[in-house]
Subunit: 498 residues, 3 copies
């Protein structure tokens, strides 16, 4: 190990010595699976200090198998994807040190911890040691780039500041300050990811005496696009939480519901209301949430979010129905999300690179023209739609599926025409001085307009995609959309007439 070892405080040192003398025999075994000497040493202290995460890990597959055993499974059943796993890792369980001590030289937050070089923030690069394909998929996704897609897009940045900045009345006007890192980490960046950097070291007082640890900015955070100290983007723990790294948890809809919530992204609520959601929630105990591949019919009879958007699916005869993907938009042809209109999925996960015909970093113009060169073409869209239809086809007739997606097209078109009507009214408001377009997201009137697309447009479209009708009707759907349009109309064009 190239990393310099510093002196260790006493109390833990004694325990470590014992561990070394006893050959790591104490907690070195979990079932029949060997644990590395380093991870055994971690447990010496952390087992009693942090029983919650240690036991969480003990319940994990990581603690119960080894990379060697994982690689020995038939290809379709494998949960590891890297062609080359370092030989030293292969025969032991995936313990604390196998992750927190991985790639020490790459991590600016590596520090000496009682003689071991460990880092705080385990990154996708570490996970890629065994799960390389997943990382290759994820790194190009919109999710991995979620932080940059928000913070490096000046339009969204304006929105973030308008929403999250402290406002103070000064005389008859309002003064708006930019959003603080603290507020952003509690709101947008809790999902999109913060920027975690090492700003130095600090000494903290623990049960084992004073220890020196890296001083990290904007930490803790598990946002999907977290900027890590090693420069990577993302946090696998966003969806595989804590130390169990469970496939089961990631496949359950509660995981996606950490971020994909109404009013802006009502995926959870729409799913919960849908027939799919009803069956999944009513019959969760009948579903094998852990099976790899996930066999439709045998393991489950109705899909959760992961089924359609990520998991490796097979038919009972073993045929692959859909390969696994961790680029979660890659199975989708249309991007429902109204910005301010729906549009074909972006070619690249870095959506801040998009420029529309008005020169703005948005996938459509305010009047609906798509920034086509940055978006997938018809052929790619058709290919993806057909792949999704194949998944639906495991339970639905081709006519059913085909009609469903035609209806979705209709829903998108009508919702977008309502957004266009709203935007045309808003433009009159700007033209007549009722609002100031220099920041299009701050004033009360502008907020009504934004809600038309970010709340009600999205709600109608998500509801149509997954059949959660209330979200297309009275709950943030057409009721609110048409009411909002009348509101805008009366505020902008009827002003003073009644």
């Amino acid at each position: 190990m190239a990393y310099p070892i510093k002196s260790t405080p006493r109390s833990c040192f004694v325990l470590l010595l014992c561990t070394v003398f006893l050959g790591g025999a104490l907690p070195a075994q979990t079932g029949e699976v060997a644990l590395s000497e380093e991870s055994s040493a971690c447990l010496t202290c952390h087992e009693s200090m942090h029983p919650g995460i240690v036991e969480d890990w003990r319940m994990s597959r990581h603690s119960m198998t080894t990379p060697s055993a994982a690689l020995a499974l038939p290809a379709l059943e494998r949960r590891v994807s890297s062609a080359t796993i370092p030989p030293r890792l292969k025969p032991v369980a995936v313990g604390c040190f196998e992750c927190h001590g991985q790639n020490p030289g790459k991590h600016p937050d590596t520090f000496d911890h009682f003689g071991y070089a460990v880092h705080v923030v385990v990154t996708p690069d570490d996970c890629a040691t065994c799960h390389g394909t997943e990382w290759e998929e994820y790194r190009v996704s919109k999710m991995a780039n979620a932080h940059d897609n928000l913070e490096m897009n000046p339009v969204y940045h304006t929105l973030v500041n308008a929403v999250d900045g402290v406002i103070t009345p000064e005389g008859d006007a309002l003064t708006q300050r930019p959003a603080t890192d603290n507020t952003k980490s509690e709101t947008c960046l809790a999902c999109h990811g913060t920027t975690v950097k090492v700003r130095g070291k600090k000494t903290i007082d623990t049960e084992q005496g004073e220890i020196e640890i890296p001083d990290l900015t904007n930490w803790p955070n598990q946002g999907v696009g977290r900027i890590n100290p090693d420069g990577t983007k993302g946090a696998c723990t966003s969806c595989h939480p804590r130390h169990q790294f469970s496939i089961e948890v990631a496949r359950k809809p509660y995981t996606c519901a950490q971020c994909h919530l109404e009013p802006d992204v009502p995926a959870w609520e729409v799913f919960r209301e849908s027939k799919h959601g009803n069956i999944v929630l009513s019959s969760s105990g009948d579903i094998d949430w852990n099976a790899v591949p996930w066999v439709v019919g045998r393991d489950f009879r109705a899909p959760s979010c992961a089924t359609c958007h990520s998991s490796l699916l097979a038919r009972p005869d073993g045929d692959v129905l859909a390969p696994r993907t961790h680029d979660f938009g890659s199975r989708l042809w249309v991007r429902l999300f109204s910005l301010p209109y729906s549009h074909p999925q972006p070619k690249s996960g870095k959506t801040y690179e998009i420029k529309n015909a008005d020169g703005l970093p948005l996938p459509t113009t305010f009047t609906g023209q798509p920034a086509s060169e940055y978006l997938i073409d018809r052929a790619e869209g058709a290919k993806r739609l057909n792949a999704m239809k194949a998944i639906c086809g495991a339970c639905h007739s081709s006519d059913w599926t085909s009609n469903h997606f035609k209806r979705l097209d209709g829903a998108i078109a009508t919702a977008d025409s309502m957004i266009l009507s709203s935007t045309l009214l808003m433009k009159k408001g700007w033209d007549s001085g009722l609002a100031d377009p220099s920041n299009p997201f701050d004033e009360a009137l502008e907020r009504k307009w934004v809600e038309q697309w970010v709340f009600y447009g999205n709600s109608i479209k998500y509801a149509a995609a997954m059949i959660g009708q209330d979200y297309a009707a009275f709950k943030n759907g057409w009721w609110k959309m048409s009411k909002g349009l009348h509101d805008l109309h009366e505020s902008i064009l009827m002003k003073g007439k009644k």
Copy 2:
């Protein structure tokens, strides 16, 4: 079979021949239960094409028993109710063909499918072959008539168009187009049911080559009042979803939560917040969701929606506490739903036939006079209330129950008086030209008024009925109701005074 048999494409034909030669031996048996030759033939292809629904069916009671066995059970335990089940059905499992091949002559969507006359849309009439009593109950309910109750009522029709139609600004005015079938099928009719008709035939390309199938309008849909090609109304799969037709799923609250959601019908949210909901969700694993009859105490200790509104309930000694009903309003005396006021339950499930004293198809006038000749009388109401009290009485003292319903009466009366205040203000708004009463549901001011009854009135009343207090208080309850009244007051009477 009278239905003409056409030539079958080759690939499947070979499989069918095998099936016939092997005497249907291949997948003809599920456990010890025989499967018909026709259903065996279905499985030949569909087992690999649609493993999701085939396995769903395999987990169903339909696949594991026969009508003969079902009829042999003691009366109270029976899940079939028809006195006469055709002899050919009795000895075999209820497989694909037993439903999709039932009553071929009655179904305009019957088509030749590789030699078998099958129809796409299985209707309540088909289910009634074995479940006749349930269909007799259901067909007269408000639910079975849900499509017509919306579409054949000109008042509601105006509301649907005002909410769901695309609106375009033209000059200084707004132009409202009628709601499209597509939008209605994503919103109102997703719950109420679409009109499914055969408009012809179409050829589709499948793994087995081109096949000809009926071309259906507004399909798919599982709305409770769906108008089927055979003229029947309803879809049993609304609540017994997909091919498991499970009692368990229908009894769980997630099923009702497919449609009965806030802000207009907050049954799910109120239940979830209530003590009943807390116990059911906390102890779901301790409940026998499948038992028939459903024995209070033995099978469950707290009710889900189905307990009070539908299921056959018995005491541990076998006495019937409540007979099963699929006319879901028939156990209720008062209809909480504000139109614009609560009122006694309608006599007939066809609510579009109602005419109030103002000649409108609404159960009350705008000032609250009930259309009494269309509504159940006091004696019938008292009978139903007493029957419900008997259900409550399995867990609550008669004093408790009696006080609860007295309190509900008070909640209805006060909420209705707030609706009346709102309506009196709205009337002044119409009289003074602030809104145009020719369509009372479109303008911003009118929307505020509608929310007073459809959102806040309903929320207060549902909360009182099932004790989900937040929905009577800050969440769509009194907070919103009194705030809305002040809003209306200031918009209509204080205009320009401040």
Copy 3:
């Protein structure tokens, strides 16, 4: 028994005689646990009359153990806390009569019921016979005083009447009546607790003939601060519902979700969205919800509400991580709830005794000055924060925990500065006559201001405390808060300028 025995109606009398002659042998035993003669007599009738609650009780620990056995457990595993339990109770199960016949002389609702002196409303004083420590903790809590904290605080009382009173338009004005007991018991007091008093006796007709029972006001109710006929405050059944009195149910988040809901107290929604909530809901079956002590790691890997706020927690080595408390605020240093600002926890559970610098019974002034003499000091706050950090520390590093709470401090400060901005605008509105401050909670403009703190301020703070980011962002969080501020600004300062 000192209570006078009256004559009993016949039908039940015969059954009682049988019971007495048979030595209570019939239902006197549950498993091997003896049942008192009195409780056996109760079951004689109530087993068939109310099978739901009797079976609920049969599934309870109360029916399966005795106080003697409960006292024999090691101290940490004990679920009873009273030093002295009356000898007559010790050898028998805790049956109907052990609670409903406890302390007969203290209960004004004690009545003769077929020869037994029983009371309807079992109170914390009865429960304290075995669970004395829990009652000592609870009685001084804000929860036990929840009724008085609302009804004896004139400011809140004004709010309740403004929200819950029926409003009638009279001429051009609105007339506001005070909220009725009926409405309050359906809204605020459903959680806070009603006042249950004996107003006399009444005769009711039952299966066993006419019986005389106490006539109770505002009954039923299980609010946390219910004023009981015996003068005690609270209802243990608020959280340990019905007759199972389950620790499991009380620990599950659905129990807290009976009252702690958005928009005013979004604890449930924020928890559900959080990583804690995701893991708990995804892995509920892996949690031992009944263990005492509740051992982190062994029994659970992620916390529910009870974990952090109430339960007795231990490490796997048996060390106590947190002693049990039924004073639910006592582990908290800051009170997030905006009144109108966050503030240190009150010293006393009787918050109506607080007087701020403006003489109002609020913990802060309208401009944010805390009523410090009524609130815990820094030292006490630091002690509590450290105790909470110790709980977090069972799963999280000290740096993680420390950063989390620093971030929470920031979230509170920024949210409170937004509330201050809103209040300064509202003050201008009052000063300029746009609203009448004599009742600061009724008019439309004032409602917008109240929502800034009661809805959006709380949402941001709860979201920060438990990491449910959407509730700090688009859902009742910063989006609504900054939008509301612009709304107030335009209504108050821009009036007529655009």
